[in-house]
Amino acid sequence: MSGFLSQYGGEIGILTLEHLWLTGAAMLWATAIAVPAGVWLTRRPRWAKPVIGIANVLQTIPSLAMFGFLLPLPWLGERAARVAIVALTAYALLPILRNTYAGIQGIDRSLIEVARALGLTGMQRFFKVELPLAASFILAGLRTATVTCVGIATIAAAVGAGGLGELIFRGVASIDNRLILAGAIPAALLALAVDGALGLLERWFRVPTIQAAP
Protein backbone atom coordinates (compact mmCIF):
# COMPACT_ATOMS: atom_id res chain seq x y z
CA MET A 1 0.00 0.00 0.00
CA SER A 2 2.73 2.43 1.01
CA GLY A 3 4.64 1.37 -2.06
CA PHE A 4 1.59 2.19 -4.17
CA LEU A 5 1.23 5.59 -2.55
CA SER A 6 4.87 6.49 -2.98
CA GLN A 7 4.60 5.47 -6.63
CA TYR A 8 1.32 7.30 -7.38
CA GLY A 9 1.02 9.86 -4.58
CA GLY A 10 2.52 12.71 -6.57
CA GLU A 11 0.40 11.92 -9.58
CA ILE A 12 -2.78 11.74 -7.48
CA GLY A 13 -1.96 15.19 -6.11
CA ILE A 14 -1.44 16.71 -9.55
CA LEU A 15 -4.56 15.09 -10.99
CA THR A 16 -6.61 16.28 -8.00
CA LEU A 17 -5.45 19.83 -8.68
CA GLU A 18 -6.28 19.39 -12.36
CA HIS A 19 -9.70 18.07 -11.39
CA LEU A 20 -10.26 21.08 -9.16
CA TRP A 21 -9.16 23.44 -11.90
CA LEU A 22 -11.57 21.96 -14.46
CA THR A 23 -14.49 22.04 -12.05
CA GLY A 24 -13.60 25.45 -10.64
CA ALA A 25 -13.26 27.08 -14.05
CA ALA A 26 -16.56 25.57 -15.19
CA MET A 27 -18.32 26.78 -12.04
CA LEU A 28 -17.04 30.30 -12.54
CA TRP A 29 -18.31 30.34 -16.11
CA ALA A 30 -21.63 28.79 -15.17
CA THR A 31 -22.16 31.26 -12.33
CA ALA A 32 -21.23 34.19 -14.54
CA ILE A 33 -23.81 33.06 -17.09
CA ALA A 34 -26.60 31.52 -15.03
CA VAL A 35 -26.94 34.02 -12.17
CA PRO A 36 -27.45 37.08 -14.41
CA ALA A 37 -29.64 34.98 -16.71
CA GLY A 38 -31.74 33.84 -13.76
CA VAL A 39 -32.13 37.42 -12.58
CA TRP A 40 -33.07 38.52 -16.09
CA LEU A 41 -35.74 35.81 -16.22
CA THR A 42 -37.36 37.16 -13.06
CA ARG A 43 -37.80 40.43 -14.97
CA ARG A 44 -39.22 38.59 -17.97
CA PRO A 45 -41.03 35.58 -16.55
CA ARG A 46 -42.49 34.77 -19.94
CA TRP A 47 -39.04 33.59 -20.99
CA ALA A 48 -38.49 31.48 -17.91
CA LYS A 49 -40.09 28.32 -19.17
CA PRO A 50 -38.29 28.07 -22.54
CA VAL A 51 -34.90 29.14 -21.17
CA ILE A 52 -34.99 26.81 -18.18
CA GLY A 53 -36.26 24.15 -20.61
CA ILE A 54 -33.13 24.52 -22.74
CA ALA A 55 -30.90 24.22 -19.67
CA ASN A 56 -32.90 21.15 -18.74
CA VAL A 57 -32.26 19.54 -22.13
CA LEU A 58 -28.52 20.23 -21.81
CA GLN A 59 -28.63 18.42 -18.50
CA THR A 60 -30.07 15.27 -20.07
CA ILE A 61 -27.29 14.77 -22.62
CA PRO A 62 -25.16 11.84 -21.49
CA SER A 63 -21.80 13.20 -20.42
CA LEU A 64 -19.68 10.95 -22.62
CA ALA A 65 -21.77 12.00 -25.63
CA MET A 66 -21.44 15.67 -24.69
CA PHE A 67 -17.64 15.42 -24.62
CA GLY A 68 -17.79 13.61 -27.94
CA PHE A 69 -20.00 16.25 -29.57
CA LEU A 70 -17.73 19.10 -28.52
CA LEU A 71 -14.45 17.45 -29.52
CA PRO A 72 -14.68 18.06 -33.30
CA LEU A 73 -15.62 21.73 -32.94
CA PRO A 74 -13.03 24.24 -34.15
CA TRP A 75 -10.96 26.06 -31.46
CA LEU A 76 -12.78 24.18 -28.73
CA GLY A 77 -11.51 20.80 -29.83
CA GLU A 78 -7.91 21.96 -29.99
CA ARG A 79 -7.51 21.57 -26.26
CA ALA A 80 -9.17 18.83 -24.25
CA ALA A 81 -9.42 21.07 -21.18
CA ARG A 82 -11.52 23.55 -23.18
CA VAL A 83 -13.93 20.82 -24.16
CA ALA A 84 -14.16 19.65 -20.57
CA ILE A 85 -14.78 23.11 -19.15
CA VAL A 86 -17.46 23.94 -21.72
CA ALA A 87 -19.23 20.64 -21.13
CA LEU A 88 -19.10 21.00 -17.36
CA THR A 89 -20.37 24.56 -17.65
CA ALA A 90 -23.34 23.33 -19.63
CA TYR A 91 -24.20 20.85 -16.89
CA ALA A 92 -23.84 23.42 -14.15
CA LEU A 93 -26.21 25.92 -15.79
CA LEU A 94 -29.53 24.35 -14.88
CA PRO A 95 -29.27 24.12 -11.08
CA ILE A 96 -27.85 27.64 -10.78
CA LEU A 97 -30.32 29.15 -13.23
CA ARG A 98 -33.31 27.43 -11.68
CA ASN A 99 -32.38 28.34 -8.13
CA THR A 100 -31.56 31.95 -8.96
CA TYR A 101 -34.91 32.33 -10.66
CA ALA A 102 -36.90 30.53 -7.98
CA GLY A 103 -34.96 32.21 -5.18
CA ILE A 104 -35.82 35.69 -6.36
CA GLN A 105 -39.36 34.82 -7.44
CA GLY A 106 -39.97 33.31 -4.02
CA ILE A 107 -39.28 36.51 -2.10
CA ASP A 108 -42.31 37.81 -0.25
CA ARG A 109 -43.90 40.34 -2.64
CA SER A 110 -44.72 42.72 0.18
CA LEU A 111 -41.00 43.13 0.91
CA ILE A 112 -40.36 44.18 -2.68
CA GLU A 113 -43.29 46.59 -2.38
CA VAL A 114 -41.82 48.09 0.77
CA ALA A 115 -38.44 48.49 -0.92
CA ARG A 116 -40.18 50.38 -3.73
CA ALA A 117 -42.21 52.49 -1.35
CA LEU A 118 -39.09 53.46 0.60
CA GLY A 119 -37.67 54.90 -2.60
CA LEU A 120 -34.96 52.36 -3.32
CA THR A 121 -33.79 52.45 -6.94
CA GLY A 122 -33.96 49.30 -9.04
CA MET A 123 -30.28 48.56 -8.42
CA GLN A 124 -30.56 49.19 -4.69
CA ARG A 125 -33.59 46.98 -4.51
CA PHE A 126 -31.64 44.20 -6.19
CA PHE A 127 -28.42 44.44 -4.20
CA LYS A 128 -29.86 45.37 -0.81
CA VAL A 129 -33.00 43.26 -0.81
CA GLU A 130 -33.41 40.68 -3.55
CA LEU A 131 -29.88 39.31 -3.76
CA PRO A 132 -29.34 38.88 0.00
CA LEU A 133 -32.76 37.31 0.41
CA ALA A 134 -32.16 34.87 -2.45
CA ALA A 135 -28.49 34.23 -1.66
CA SER A 136 -28.86 30.97 0.22
CA PHE A 137 -31.12 29.66 -2.54
CA ILE A 138 -28.62 30.60 -5.23
CA LEU A 139 -25.81 29.02 -3.22
CA ALA A 140 -27.83 25.83 -2.90
CA GLY A 141 -27.99 25.69 -6.70
CA LEU A 142 -24.27 26.33 -6.90
CA ARG A 143 -23.67 23.51 -4.47
CA THR A 144 -25.74 21.01 -6.43
CA ALA A 145 -24.01 22.09 -9.63
CA THR A 146 -20.52 21.80 -8.14
CA VAL A 147 -21.05 18.36 -6.64
CA THR A 148 -22.49 17.12 -9.94
CA CYS A 149 -19.57 18.58 -11.86
CA VAL A 150 -16.94 17.04 -9.59
CA GLY A 151 -18.48 13.70 -10.52
CA ILE A 152 -18.88 14.37 -14.24
CA ALA A 153 -15.34 15.76 -14.48
CA THR A 154 -14.01 12.23 -14.04
CA ILE A 155 -15.42 11.45 -17.52
CA ALA A 156 -13.39 14.34 -18.97
CA ALA A 157 -10.37 12.03 -18.92
CA ALA A 158 -12.01 10.18 -21.80
CA VAL A 159 -11.17 13.09 -24.10
CA GLY A 160 -7.76 13.54 -22.52
CA ALA A 161 -8.60 16.52 -20.34
CA GLY A 162 -6.93 14.96 -17.31
CA GLY A 163 -8.29 15.02 -13.78
CA LEU A 164 -8.82 12.10 -11.45
CA GLY A 165 -10.77 10.24 -14.14
CA GLU A 166 -7.44 9.46 -15.75
CA LEU A 167 -6.53 7.06 -12.96
CA ILE A 168 -9.95 5.46 -13.17
CA PHE A 169 -9.78 4.95 -16.93
CA ARG A 170 -6.25 3.58 -16.62
CA GLY A 171 -7.35 1.27 -13.84
CA VAL A 172 -10.26 -0.02 -15.89
CA ALA A 173 -8.04 -0.59 -18.92
CA SER A 174 -5.42 -2.48 -16.92
CA ILE A 175 -7.94 -4.17 -14.59
CA ASP A 176 -6.22 -2.64 -11.58
CA ASN A 177 -8.66 -1.92 -8.76
CA ARG A 178 -6.06 0.02 -6.82
CA LEU A 179 -5.76 2.52 -9.65
CA ILE A 180 -9.55 2.84 -9.96
CA LEU A 181 -9.79 3.55 -6.24
CA ALA A 182 -6.85 5.97 -6.42
CA GLY A 183 -9.01 8.06 -8.75
CA ALA A 184 -12.41 7.35 -7.27
CA ILE A 185 -11.65 7.95 -3.58
CA PRO A 186 -10.11 11.42 -3.98
CA ALA A 187 -12.94 12.35 -6.37
CA ALA A 188 -15.52 11.27 -3.81
CA LEU A 189 -13.69 13.09 -1.00
CA LEU A 190 -13.49 16.17 -3.17
CA ALA A 191 -17.24 16.07 -3.77
CA LEU A 192 -17.91 15.66 -0.05
CA ALA A 193 -15.56 18.50 0.89
CA VAL A 194 -17.11 20.86 -1.66
CA ASP A 195 -20.59 19.85 -0.54
CA GLY A 196 -19.71 20.52 3.09
CA ALA A 197 -18.01 23.84 2.46
CA LEU A 198 -20.76 25.23 0.25
CA GLY A 199 -23.34 23.90 2.68
CA LEU A 200 -21.78 25.98 5.43
CA LEU A 201 -21.76 29.03 3.21
CA GLU A 202 -25.40 28.43 2.33
CA ARG A 203 -26.36 28.21 5.99
CA TRP A 204 -24.44 31.41 6.70
CA PHE A 205 -26.58 33.26 4.17
CA ARG A 206 -29.87 31.69 5.20
CA VAL A 207 -32.37 34.29 6.31
CA PRO A 208 -34.48 33.43 9.35
CA THR A 209 -38.20 33.82 8.85
CA ILE A 210 -40.42 35.78 11.17
CA GLN A 211 -42.65 32.76 11.69
CA ALA A 212 -39.78 31.11 13.52
CA ALA A 213 -39.99 33.77 16.24
CA PRO A 214 -39.77 32.65 19.85
Binding site: R116, A117, L118, G119, V207, P208
Partner: protein, 254 residues
Protein backbone atom coordinates in the same frame (compact mmCIF):
# COMPACT_ATOMS: atom_id res chain seq x y z
CA UNK B 1 -52.71 76.30 7.67
CA UNK B 2 -52.31 75.00 4.16
CA UNK B 3 -53.29 71.65 2.78
CA UNK B 4 -50.30 69.36 3.01
CA UNK B 5 -52.12 66.65 1.17
CA UNK B 6 -54.93 67.05 -1.27
CA UNK B 7 -56.87 64.80 -3.61
CA UNK B 8 -58.68 66.42 -6.50
CA UNK B 9 -61.32 64.46 -8.37
CA UNK B 10 -59.19 61.37 -8.00
CA UNK B 11 -60.38 58.20 -9.69
CA UNK B 12 -58.88 54.79 -10.07
CA UNK B 13 -60.37 52.15 -12.31
CA UNK B 14 -59.14 48.59 -12.57
CA UNK B 15 -58.10 47.42 -16.05
CA UNK B 16 -61.32 45.35 -16.21
CA UNK B 17 -63.28 48.57 -15.79
CA UNK B 18 -64.35 48.25 -12.16
CA UNK B 19 -63.93 51.62 -10.39
CA UNK B 20 -62.12 51.40 -7.04
CA UNK B 21 -61.97 55.13 -6.36
CA UNK B 22 -64.61 57.47 -7.68
CA UNK B 23 -63.80 61.19 -7.99
CA UNK B 24 -62.37 61.66 -4.53
CA UNK B 25 -61.75 65.19 -3.34
CA UNK B 26 -60.19 65.64 0.07
CA UNK B 27 -57.63 67.77 1.83
CA UNK B 28 -55.56 67.27 4.96
CA UNK B 29 -53.97 70.22 6.76
CA UNK B 30 -50.35 70.32 7.71
CA UNK B 31 -49.62 68.64 11.01
CA UNK B 32 -52.98 66.91 11.23
CA UNK B 33 -53.99 63.29 11.12
CA UNK B 34 -56.64 62.26 8.67
CA UNK B 35 -58.01 58.79 9.27
CA UNK B 36 -59.55 56.97 6.35
CA UNK B 37 -62.16 54.58 7.62
CA UNK B 38 -64.11 52.03 5.66
CA UNK B 39 -64.88 48.38 5.32
CA UNK B 40 -62.68 45.97 3.38
CA UNK B 41 -62.75 46.72 -0.32
CA UNK B 42 -63.92 50.31 0.11
CA UNK B 43 -60.75 51.51 -1.62
CA UNK B 44 -58.98 53.01 1.39
CA UNK B 45 -55.65 51.27 0.85
CA UNK B 46 -55.74 52.13 -2.84
CA UNK B 47 -56.35 55.76 -1.97
CA UNK B 48 -53.33 55.77 0.31
CA UNK B 49 -51.15 54.17 -2.34
CA UNK B 50 -51.94 56.79 -4.95
CA UNK B 51 -50.02 59.28 -2.80
CA UNK B 52 -46.62 57.62 -3.17
CA UNK B 53 -47.65 56.35 -6.59
CA UNK B 54 -47.56 52.69 -5.68
CA UNK B 55 -50.83 52.93 -7.59
CA UNK B 56 -51.15 55.38 -10.47
CA UNK B 57 -54.50 57.12 -10.47
CA UNK B 58 -56.59 56.82 -13.62
CA UNK B 59 -57.63 60.46 -13.49
CA UNK B 60 -57.50 63.42 -11.14
CA UNK B 61 -54.56 64.60 -9.11
CA UNK B 62 -52.85 64.13 -5.77
CA UNK B 63 -51.02 67.16 -4.40
CA UNK B 64 -48.40 66.92 -1.68
CA UNK B 65 -47.59 70.40 -0.34
CA UNK B 66 -49.28 71.84 -3.37
CA UNK B 67 -47.19 69.83 -5.82
CA UNK B 68 -48.66 67.24 -8.17
CA UNK B 69 -47.09 63.91 -7.27
CA UNK B 70 -46.80 63.01 -10.94
CA UNK B 71 -44.43 65.89 -11.58
CA UNK B 72 -42.09 64.82 -8.78
CA UNK B 73 -39.33 62.31 -9.48
CA UNK B 74 -40.61 58.94 -8.24
CA UNK B 75 -37.60 58.09 -6.06
CA UNK B 76 -37.51 61.58 -4.51
CA UNK B 77 -41.25 61.47 -3.91
CA UNK B 78 -41.12 58.13 -2.14
CA UNK B 79 -38.10 58.99 -0.01
CA UNK B 80 -39.96 62.08 1.16
CA UNK B 81 -42.99 60.14 2.36
CA UNK B 82 -42.96 57.80 5.35
CA UNK B 83 -44.80 54.53 4.76
CA UNK B 84 -45.92 52.05 7.39
CA UNK B 85 -47.82 48.87 6.60
CA UNK B 86 -49.31 46.06 8.60
CA UNK B 87 -46.76 43.33 9.47
CA UNK B 88 -44.14 41.80 7.17
CA UNK B 89 -42.73 45.22 6.35
CA UNK B 90 -39.33 44.60 7.94
CA UNK B 91 -36.55 42.99 5.97
CA UNK B 92 -35.69 39.65 7.57
CA UNK B 93 -31.99 39.98 6.74
CA UNK B 94 -31.53 43.38 8.35
CA UNK B 95 -30.99 44.39 11.96
CA UNK B 96 -33.38 46.97 13.35
CA UNK B 97 -30.75 49.70 13.16
CA UNK B 98 -29.96 48.99 9.51
CA UNK B 99 -33.60 48.72 8.51
CA UNK B 100 -34.47 52.02 10.19
CA UNK B 101 -31.59 53.76 8.42
CA UNK B 102 -32.23 52.14 5.04
CA UNK B 103 -33.55 55.25 3.32
CA UNK B 104 -30.49 57.17 4.53
CA UNK B 105 -28.31 54.32 3.30
CA UNK B 106 -30.00 54.56 -0.09
CA UNK B 107 -29.23 58.25 -0.12
CA UNK B 108 -25.58 57.47 0.51
CA UNK B 109 -25.26 59.05 3.95
CA UNK B 110 -22.26 57.98 6.01
CA UNK B 111 -22.75 54.99 8.29
CA UNK B 112 -22.02 56.84 11.49
CA UNK B 113 -24.78 59.39 10.82
CA UNK B 114 -27.21 56.65 9.84
CA UNK B 115 -26.65 54.71 13.01
CA UNK B 116 -26.94 57.78 15.19
CA UNK B 117 -30.27 58.62 13.56
CA UNK B 118 -31.47 55.00 13.84
CA UNK B 119 -30.73 54.88 17.54
CA UNK B 120 -32.38 58.23 18.09
CA UNK B 121 -35.53 57.00 16.35
CA UNK B 122 -35.60 53.64 18.11
CA UNK B 123 -35.49 55.59 21.33
CA UNK B 124 -38.34 57.82 20.12
CA UNK B 125 -40.60 54.83 19.43
CA UNK B 126 -39.82 53.36 22.83
CA UNK B 127 -37.15 50.78 22.02
CA UNK B 128 -33.87 50.87 23.91
CA UNK B 129 -31.19 50.93 21.19
CA UNK B 130 -28.75 49.10 23.46
CA UNK B 131 -31.09 46.13 23.57
CA UNK B 132 -32.85 46.23 20.25
CA UNK B 133 -30.67 47.91 17.63
CA UNK B 134 -28.83 44.73 16.62
CA UNK B 135 -31.86 42.47 16.62
CA UNK B 136 -33.36 40.89 13.53
CA UNK B 137 -37.14 40.91 12.97
CA UNK B 138 -37.49 37.29 14.10
CA UNK B 139 -35.98 38.31 17.44
CA UNK B 140 -38.67 40.94 18.01
CA UNK B 141 -42.30 40.69 19.10
CA UNK B 142 -45.09 41.90 16.81
CA UNK B 143 -45.38 45.21 18.65
CA UNK B 144 -41.65 45.77 18.63
CA UNK B 145 -41.52 45.07 14.90
CA UNK B 146 -44.23 47.63 14.31
CA UNK B 147 -42.28 50.17 16.34
CA UNK B 148 -39.23 49.54 14.17
CA UNK B 149 -41.42 49.97 11.08
CA UNK B 150 -42.60 53.32 12.40
CA UNK B 151 -39.06 54.42 13.20
CA UNK B 152 -38.05 53.51 9.65
CA UNK B 153 -40.83 55.64 8.21
CA UNK B 154 -39.54 58.61 10.19
CA UNK B 155 -35.88 58.17 9.24
CA UNK B 156 -35.66 60.81 6.54
CA UNK B 157 -37.86 63.13 8.61
CA UNK B 158 -40.62 63.20 5.99
CA UNK B 159 -43.36 65.80 6.50
CA UNK B 160 -45.98 63.25 5.42
CA UNK B 161 -46.66 59.77 6.80
CA UNK B 162 -48.83 57.13 5.17
CA UNK B 163 -49.99 54.38 7.51
CA UNK B 164 -51.90 51.39 6.23
CA UNK B 165 -53.56 49.51 9.08
CA UNK B 166 -50.35 49.87 11.05
CA UNK B 167 -51.63 48.03 14.11
CA UNK B 168 -53.96 45.60 12.37
CA UNK B 169 -51.96 42.51 13.23
CA UNK B 170 -51.43 43.26 16.92
CA UNK B 171 -53.22 41.98 19.99
CA UNK B 172 -55.58 44.52 21.63
CA UNK B 173 -53.25 45.40 24.50
CA UNK B 174 -50.21 45.99 22.34
CA UNK B 175 -52.42 47.82 19.91
CA UNK B 176 -53.64 50.26 22.56
CA UNK B 177 -50.07 50.76 23.72
CA UNK B 178 -48.96 51.51 20.18
CA UNK B 179 -51.83 53.91 19.60
CA UNK B 180 -50.88 55.88 22.69
CA UNK B 181 -47.25 55.95 21.69
CA UNK B 182 -48.13 57.10 18.17
CA UNK B 183 -50.45 59.80 19.46
CA UNK B 184 -47.74 61.26 21.66
CA UNK B 185 -45.17 61.01 18.93
CA UNK B 186 -47.33 62.66 16.28
CA UNK B 187 -48.23 65.49 18.59
CA UNK B 188 -44.57 66.10 19.22
CA UNK B 189 -43.38 65.82 15.63
CA UNK B 190 -46.25 67.65 13.94
CA UNK B 191 -46.39 65.32 10.97
CA UNK B 192 -49.17 65.24 8.46
CA UNK B 193 -50.59 61.75 8.57
CA UNK B 194 -52.92 59.75 6.41
CA UNK B 195 -53.93 56.64 8.30
CA UNK B 196 -56.08 53.82 7.01
CA UNK B 197 -58.02 51.61 9.38
CA UNK B 198 -61.35 49.88 9.85
CA UNK B 199 -61.23 50.34 13.61
CA UNK B 200 -63.52 53.15 14.74
CA UNK B 201 -61.89 53.47 18.16
CA UNK B 202 -58.52 53.93 16.53
CA UNK B 203 -59.99 56.54 14.18
CA UNK B 204 -61.52 58.46 17.06
CA UNK B 205 -58.35 58.31 19.11
CA UNK B 206 -55.89 59.32 16.42
CA UNK B 207 -57.82 61.34 13.88
CA UNK B 208 -58.23 65.07 13.68
CA UNK B 209 -60.56 64.35 10.81
CA UNK B 210 -62.25 61.12 9.85
CA UNK B 211 -63.08 60.20 6.30
CA UNK B 212 -65.50 57.41 5.63
CA UNK B 213 -65.12 55.68 2.30
CA UNK B 214 -67.75 53.47 0.82
CA UNK B 215 -67.37 51.74 -2.51
CA UNK B 216 -64.69 54.19 -3.56
CA UNK B 217 -66.57 57.37 -2.63
CA UNK B 218 -66.22 59.74 0.26
CA UNK B 219 -69.45 59.58 2.26
CA UNK B 220 -68.24 61.67 5.21
CA UNK B 221 -65.34 63.89 6.15
CA UNK B 222 -65.81 65.07 9.72
CA UNK B 223 -64.16 65.76 13.03
CA UNK B 224 -64.39 62.85 15.50
CA UNK B 225 -67.21 64.32 17.61
CA UNK B 226 -69.25 65.28 14.60
CA UNK B 227 -68.61 61.85 13.15
CA UNK B 228 -70.10 60.12 16.18
CA UNK B 229 -73.17 62.35 16.10
CA UNK B 230 -73.65 62.35 12.37
CA UNK B 231 -77.17 61.59 11.12
CA UNK B 232 -75.77 60.56 7.76
CA UNK B 233 -77.06 57.02 7.15
CA UNK B 234 -73.74 55.52 6.07
CA UNK B 235 -71.92 56.99 9.05
CA UNK B 236 -74.43 56.03 11.72
CA UNK B 237 -74.63 52.56 10.21
CA UNK B 238 -70.87 52.19 10.52
CA UNK B 239 -70.84 53.53 14.06
CA UNK B 240 -73.73 51.31 15.12
CA UNK B 241 -72.29 48.22 13.50
CA UNK B 242 -69.04 48.86 15.29
CA UNK B 243 -70.71 49.26 18.67
CA UNK B 244 -72.93 46.28 18.04
CA UNK B 245 -69.78 44.23 17.58
CA UNK B 246 -68.45 45.41 20.93
CA UNK B 247 -71.82 44.82 22.54
CA UNK B 248 -72.13 41.31 21.25
CA UNK B 249 -68.68 40.49 22.50
CA UNK B 250 -69.55 41.86 25.93
CA UNK B 251 -72.74 39.83 26.02
CA UNK B 252 -70.99 36.66 25.03
CA UNK B 253 -68.61 37.15 27.90
CA UNK B 254 -71.52 37.25 30.34
Amino acid sequence: MSAAIEFRELSFTLPQGRPLLDRISLAGDEGTTTVVLGRSGSGKTTLLRTVNRMVEATSGTVLVNGKDVRTTDLITLRRGIGYVIQETGLFPHMTAERDVGLVLEAEGRPKEKRLRRSHELLEAVGLDPGRFARRYPHQLSGGQRQRVGLARALAADPPLLLMDEPFGALDPLTRAEMQDMLRGLLRRLRKTVLLVTHDLDEALLLGDRIVLLEAGRVVAHLEPDAFLQSQEAAVSQYVQAFHRGEHRAAEERR
